[in-house]
């Protein structure tokens, strides 16, 4: 499995092989994300699961990382690999992290499942310089056909029935990029993945129709605003 080089990927010079048993188990989108993280970055991985992406980045790209996940069993797996994970609620607790304290903040296939994605995106922009966001594309042609045929889309990237899906926000690539712009984020790179999770020429040329999902690299543009008044501390 190789990372395609036909797409711009800052800091990705993956000449050397991995040499790490763990990296072989990365999902295809995680392998692409790892290629987008500059060597030596400090990385915050939101919804990090078992911490494999961070472990890979620590071993292969000399990164420092912290993961955030809510599941205790995943956290124990990550801890056993020496990946620091803090158990917090993405929706409520990102305020715990300092301003501008990470080079890269990753949010992989999670934004569509949080109740307040705008708040999460703004916190990511506050915490990190570069944001990497992957999202399923509701506008993918197969999803459109499903809807025209009278059924909610079910696909490899949106694999749930309407009544048991964790996803609460649906967007197309076009909607997503308009929203990024409205939030003041610059899109540095877009990687369009076909339904099998790999970049294709078609998906790259017509992402809104042919991409099952996308990975966006964003520049935060966040600047600090002076606090109005000191906040009393608890405890």
């Amino acid at each position: 499995m190789t990372i395609p080089t036909s797409h711009p990927s800052p800091g990705s010079s993956r000449a050397g092989s991995t040499g790490d048993a763990g990296s072989g188990r990365l999902r295809p989108d995680q392998r692409i994300i790892s290629s987008l993280v500059p060597t030596g970055s400090r990385v915050l991985d939101l919804g990090c699961g078992d911490g494999l992406l961070l472990r890979h980045l620590m071993d292969e790209r000399d990164c420092l990382g912290t993961g955030v996940d809510a599941a205790t069993d995943e956290l124990i797996t990550a801890a056993a690999m020496g990946v620091p994970v803090v158990q917090l609620d993405l929706d409520a607790d990102l305020g715990e992290f300092h301003d501008d304290s990470y080079d890269v903040v990753v949010l992989s296939r999670t934004l569509q499942a949080v109740p307040r994605p705008g708040e999460v995106l703004r916190q990511m922009a506050r915490i990190g310089t570069t944001l990497i966001v992957s999202m399923p594309n509701f506008g993918y042609w197969r999803n459109r056909l499903r809807l025209i045929s009278g059924h909610m889309p079910v696909s490899r990237d949106l694999p749930f029935q309407w009544h048991n899906t964790p996803n609460v926000r649906y967007s197309t690539v076009a909607d997503l990029e308009a929203w990024f712009a409205a939030e003041g984020l610059d899109v540095l790179t877009r990687i369009s993945l076909a339904e099998h999770g790999r970049p294709t020429r078609g998906a790259r040329l017509a992402p809104n129709l042919l991409a099952g999902s996308t990975i966006h690299v964003l520049r935060s543009n966040w600047t600090p605003t002076p606090p109005a008044s000191p906040v009393p501390e608890t405890p």
Partner: protein, 408 residues
């Protein structure tokens, strides 16, 4: 995700077996212990126990710091005792702090009353018990004594320092002030700064002791009676804060001690009998002066309260595991999150979990599988996977007082 409290489970294997407490002298007139608050001790004995075997490289030592009323008897059994040490369920062959791997050291605190020098020890200058003239002690003093015991044992660097409640505070203080002497710190159900409510409970406990007529202004050691009433009330009060409301409800509900109600002012509800027993049992193993000295140490503990608090540990990074329990209201999860905020904010590698448990603060003493599995996983990370090699170039947000304090 629905909350599923972790069930209590039985300890793994038979434990460490028979053990005995030993004593080491760590301060002498030639090498006295100068205390943070200004006093000096020319003679300090430390009671300690060890479990497992120190490796030839002396690199597998784990230090256990006990909580307010613990002692050096962390694991195994003393000859003739029915009950094992206070943290036996986590220390032993195959247990989360695995004595097949680790050489475990557990010692009694300075100011305590279970073998280490404290107010009930003899003041060499007078030949009588120190009593209330024992100098004020501090969390730093505890750590200094731990390090002197380490030197006595020939250990320069610990694989890990582990503690719950006030033990976690020692582990935190140790990692901030002497980061070159440990690789990993496990801080469980602890606090980096007591709230006004915490101090209030602490104050009432002390007042119960001090206002007991038998306290004799601290002179009871030379008198016939001891302020046992005060000490037992202090223990009963504190014990309420160690359990959650759910735990009390589950354990006792409103059931009556004697089958049917005996209306009056004596013990009637089962919970009253339980507290009464807790208070009484405590008298046989604890001293009133030690209690007021040690609780006071917690009140003043504020390791992040000055600029640059994390400077040393950032230069020599320690891996942190911070654990709390969702029903703990003595040191609620907010206390642990404050610790995480400061450490993570300083760019240090921190793992943090809130374990779902019904048992409140006392959860840290119980075998709850996710909790013990996490401690084991953290301690047993292969060396090549340790993150500290890179952490020293982390962005570093101390040098000022951490400003991300969230109000809620």
């Amino acid at each position: 995700m629905p909350r599923q409290p972790a069930p209590r489970t039985e300890p793994i294997g038979p434990g460490v077996g028979l053990v005995a407490t030993q004593v080491a002298t760590v301060a002498t007139p030639d090498h006295p212990l100068d205390l943070v608050a200004g006093g000096r001790l020319d003679h300090v004995d430390v009671a300690y126990e060890t479990y497992g075997t120190l490796s030839p490289q002396r690199d597998n030592a784990v230090y256990i710091c006990h909580a307010l009323t613990g002692d050096a008897h962390g694991a195994g059994r003393h000859e003739g005792d029915a009950k094992p040490g206070w943290w036996d369920n986590i220390i032993g062959p195959g247990r989360a702090i695995d004595t097949d791997r680790w050489f475990v050291v557990c010692s009694n605190l300075l100011g305590g009353c279970s073998g280490t020098t404290g107010p009930t020890s003899i003041n060499p200058d007078t030949g009588r018990e120190w009593g209330i003239n024992f100098p004020q002690v501090d969390m730093h003093d505890f750590v200094e004594v731990h390090l002197r015991l380490a030197a006595h044992l020939g250990i320069e660097r610990f694989h890990a320092v582990v503690g719950g409640s006030m033990g976690g505070m020692q582990a935190l203080d140790w990692s901030l002030t002497h980061p070159d002497t440990l690789d990993n710190a496990v801080i469980i159900a602890a606090s980096s700064r007591l709230t006004a409510q915490n101090i209030a409970f602490s104050a009432v406990g002390r007042e119960a002791i001090i206002r007991d007529p038998d306290f004799e202004d601290g002179g009871y050691l030379h008198a016939e009676a001891r302020p046992d009433t005060g000490l037992s009330i202090a223990r009963m009060l504190a014990h309420i804060t160690y359990l959650s409301e759910d735990a009390f409800a589950e354990k006792f509900g409103r059931s009556h001690q004697f089958g049917q109600s005996r209306r009056g002012f004596g013990v009637d509800f089962a919970v009253e009998s339980y507290l009464d027993h807790q208070g009484e049992a405590f008298l046989t193993r604890f001293d009133p002066l030690s209690y007021i000295y040690l609780t006071r140490v917690m009140d003043y503990f504020d390791p992040f309260g000055h600029a640059g608090a994390t400077n040393l540990v950032v230069q020599d990074p320690v891996n942190f595991l911070v654990v709390c329990f969702d029903t703990d209201w003595r040191f609620s999860p907010a206390h642990s999150r404050r610790i995480v905020r400061h450490l993570e904010g300083a760019g240090l590698p921190v793992t943090f979990a809130t374990i779902a448990s019904s048992w409140g603060h006392d959860s840290f003493l119980m075998k709850l599988d996710p909790y013990h599995e996490l401690v084991r996983a953290f301690l047993e990370v292969p060396d090549r996977r340790r993150t500290s090699r890179a952490a020293s170039r982390a962005p570093h947000f101390d040098g000022h007082i951490c400003d991300r304090e969230v109000s809620r």
